[in-house]
């Protein structure tokens, strides 16, 4: 299928031969063979969507190493910033009075001293003007109460040129929104695509098996889907996420493993003392070879020193795994994938099963069997190509769904954990910044715009792919 797409992309190009003044009329039987059109260019919007998506992915992918690499201060770029630079607008937008004031304050003292020297202004005067109520702006624009000498105005404008610049502004912690949006885009797209592929794989296999098997197997498999459908979806996603999260944190801290080790060793001690006591005539519990839960608990409570000794030993033997933050983030992301992918295959499996059922009744399936094809081969060669259109469309619809779900889970604090950005949690954070008093509009707008453009592009792409994959939709230009 891919080879077909590629060959059509680089092979024959559609030919437009319209516009001749006198039409030549050819009997249909003698008409020259029409050249097939390029399946990829059948849908213009789809092409636009695909192009946008490709650009978006490329930008996110290329920028990801830069966003994750440490910047000047040794922290990853997406996480680098000072509170002094909090909530500053994009550099091309107009800064409000207090924002300008804070921007002025971010210019280094040496720079100011140099400017003062060059412009022939007193440093103290310049600093005062910068720090005055209304900021340097009032002075600059001459809107202050006292007239400002022109050289001071020029000096202040010079200072403005040295303002730190953020293309998309900064967030509440003074981090560059550009880097956060780029890093978040990469994560959102990756999560969306991976979760969708998980759901497509599970859904297709499950639905196809149910559809091919039919009868009782199909009934049972589909009732399972019905039951899962009946349960509150969000609850299940959250449960899945929490469960896999717990597994991950146990994997990291190994707390339970340590506890088990302590208890095991305590049990051995109890057993040994029991055996000794029996040999001597009296025991802690009087039974050899047996040490129940209660006895172990009692032992641990009775001998705190022994307990700390055992715990220290366990700590030495089973230290908490030292995971780098990036590994930890990766584990968190896979948790998210399991949760989203693990629940969104339901619709997919139903759709695929329905398709398989109707395809199974088609004569060409019987013809394939009559050729001697095995079930597996029929599935791969005949069923999957027929399902390709449906699967692509649903997959492209699942990607935005997964991205939205990821943002929802991130909002709940289960998904992408705070220092790491995703479009979802950026939008969620930004939403609180819209208020009638002072709107930091850039915070929600950029992630939201990018998110919705991407979702739109995904839908267009899905449509285009369906057109491209269906040979019957070929438009034949001569």
């Amino acid at each position: 299928m891919l080879a077909k797409l590629l060959s059509s992309l680089f092979g024959r190009a559609p030919q437009g031969g319209r516009g001749a003044a006198v039409e030549e009329r050819v009997p249909a039987l003698l008409a020259p063979r029409a050249t097939p059109d390029n399946p990829l260019t059948r849908s213009k919007v789809g092409l636009a969507g695909l192009a946008f998506l490709a650009c978006m992915m490329l930008v996110c992918l290329v920028s990801l190493p830069f966003a994750l690499l440490p910047g000047k201060s040794g922290v990853a770029r997406y996480n680098e910033g000072t509170t002094a630079a909090a909530k500053l607008p994009p550099m091309w937008a107009r800064a409000s009075v207090d924002q300008a004031q804070r921007l002025d304050a971010l210019v280094a003292e040496e720079t100011i001293a140099r400017i003062a020297r060059e412009r022939g202004v007193e440093v103290g005067e310049l600093l005062r003007a910068r720090g005055a109520s209304g900021g340097g702006r009032a002075v600059r624009e001459g809107t202050g109460e006292t007239p400002v000498p022109p050289e001071l105005q020029r000096a202040l404008r010079e200072v403005e040129r040295h303002w730190p610049r953020w293309l998309l502004g900064t967030d509440a912690l003074g981090r560059s929104l550009l880097w956060r949006v780029l890093a978040g885009g990469g994560i959102s797209l990756a999560v969306g695509l991976l979760a969708a592929s998980v759901s497509v794989t599970i859904g297709t296999l499950y639905g196809a098996i149910a559809g091919m098997a039919g009868g009782r197997v199909d009934g049972v498999m589909m009732r399972v889907v019905d039951v899962l459908y009946g349960l509150p979806y969000v609850l299940l996603v959250v449960l899945l996420a929490v469960a896999s999260d717990a597994l991950v944190s146990e994997f990291v801290s190994r707390q339970k493993a340590r506890q088990a080790m302590v208890r095991e060793q305590a049990r051995e001690l109890v057993l040994r003392s029991n055996a000794d006591a029996q040999a001597g005539g009296a025991g802690l519990a009087g039974r050899a070879g047996l040490a129940g839960r209660a006895e172990v608990d009692a032992f641990l409570q009775a001998f705190p020193s022994e307990r700390t000794r055992l715990e220290e030993r366990a700590r030495a033997e089973l230290p908490a795994r030292d995971l780098s933050p990036s590994t930890r983030a990766l584990l968190d992301l896979s948790t998210l994938l399991v949760a989203i992918g693990g629940m969104s295959w339901l619709t997919m499996s139903r759709v695929v099963r329905g398709q398989v059922m109707s395809l199974r009744a088609q004569p060409f399936m019987e013809a394939a069997r009559a050729l001697g094809l095995s079930r597996g081969r029929i599935f791969v060669r005949h069923l999957l190509p027929n399902l390709a259109g449906t699967i692509t469309v649903y997959a492209t619809l699942t990607v935005p769904q997964a991205i939205l779900q990821e943002s929802f889970l991130s909002f709940l604090g289960i998904g992408v954990k705070p220092p790491l950005a995703s479009w979802g949690n950026l939008a969620a954070d930004g939403l609180g910044e819209i208020n009638p008093y002072q709107s930091h509009w850039w915070l929600p707008v950029f992630p939201c715009v990018l998110l919705s453009l991407t979702l739109l592009a995904l839908n267009f792409t899905g449509e285009a792919l369906r057109e491209a994959l269906d040979p019957k939709r070929a438009r034949r230009g001569v």
Binding site: G215, F364, E366, A367, A368, A370, G372, L373, P471
Partner: protein, 339 residues
């Protein structure tokens, strides 16, 4: 030479509540090389069930209650009873030794694969080592397509090999189906109403093609049809089926010259002819069978030596002897089912 012998085949379907519907009962037939066996009968007479049983493609609910379908191999090979083979070994038989052509060329080809991809499949499956190379497969496919007369239709240099089924006409698609069946080099070709969906001109072409391929390759052809005109023109042997039983069988010439079973006669009588007097409307099989009472069912001139002329077997007649029908010889290799 015998290729396939169907003996006493009985197939039934469950009706629920412990009852079974018998789709074929005691069906016997024999396919020989370079000969066409026509199985004739109306819908539900058991024609297709017989063919599907030979392919091992019966629906899951169906059950074979008895009989055998023996595939005779050439010298050196062992004969096998297809009804007792595993699914795995049946897969090796399908396509390679027995191939099938279906009724609907429109829907029997996969709409999303190009015809080349579909033809190739048969070669990948049955071609063995020699067909590993794509160029070898292409060469084979082109030669078989030429054999089925697709050369012109596929354009210069077989340019249309990579077109999709919907871009071909019905007759072309049926030719492609035949080519697909031939690629496995089968010895028996089951054609289940291969021309029903085609118009008469194309029908004649396709049947002529089947005949020439049969001669060239020494195939045995089973032609399942309800078109008596087709049978008369193309079949060597005929089995007339009704209600799951073969009611009359024999050489085509003999059966058409001397149709003995009332059902066969009724079938022939309701075919419109170009000769003879014009009738207002053709009689239906039912009318023809209900007229004339008991006498109509007497097999005149048969079994005269024993003194009594037997009655032809008929499933709906409540007669004591109805349960165990027997074959009565009418002529050379031509028999009819009697009570």
């Amino acid at each position: 030479m015998r290729l396939l012998t169907i003996d006493n085949l009985t197939v039934s379907f469950p009706l629920g509540a412990g009852r079974r519907s018998v789709a074929a009962e005691g069906v016997s037939a024999c396919v020989q090389s370079k000969r066409t066996l026509a199985i004739v009968g109306e819908s539900g007479s058991g024609k297709s069930v017989t063919a599907l049983a030979a392919m091992g493609l019966l629906p899951r609910a169906a059950r074979v209650d008895g009989g055998s379908i023996v595939l005779h191999r050439e010298a050196g090979g062992t004969d096998v009873d297809l009804l007792r083979e595993s699914e795995r070994s049946l897969r090796a038989v399908r396509g390679r030794e027995i191939a099938m052509i279906f009724q609907e060329p429109m829907t029997s080809l996969n709409p999303v694969l190009s015809i080349f991809e579909q033809l190739e499949e048969s070669l990948v499956l049955h071609g063995g080592q020699a067909m590993r190379a794509r160029s070898a497969r292409r060469e084979r496919i082109e030669s078989v397509l030429r054999e089925v007369g697709m050369e012109r239709a596929l354009g210069a240099g077989m340019g249309r090999l990579h077109d999709y089924p919907h871009q071909f006409s019905g007759g072309m698609r049926q030719r492609i189906m035949i080519a697909m069946a031939l690629l496995g080099e089968p010895r028996v070709l089951l054609a289940d109403e291969p021309t029903t969906a085609l118009d008469v001109t194309v029908q004649a072409q396709v049947l002529g093609l089947l005949r020439s391929i049969r001669e060239a390759r020494g195939l045995g052809v089973v032609l399942i049809t309800h078109d008596l005109g087709v049978v008369r023109a193309h079949a060597d042997d005929v089995c007339v089926m009704y209600a799951g039983r073969v009611v009359e069988a024999g050489l085509a010439a003999s059966v058409f010259a001397r149709p003995t079973h009332p059902y066969t006669r009724a079938l022939l009588a309701c075919v419109p002819t170009l000769r003879g007097e014009a009738r207002e409307r053709l009689a239906t099989v039912r009318e023809l069978l209900e007229d004339g009472g008991e006498e109509r069912w007497r097999l005149a001139g048969v079994g005269a030596e024993s003194g009594t002329e037997p009655l032809a077997w008929w499933p709906w007649r409540k007669a004591p002897g109805n349960a165990t029908p027997r074959r009565v010889e009418v002529g050379e290799g031509h028999w009819v089912l009697a009570e």
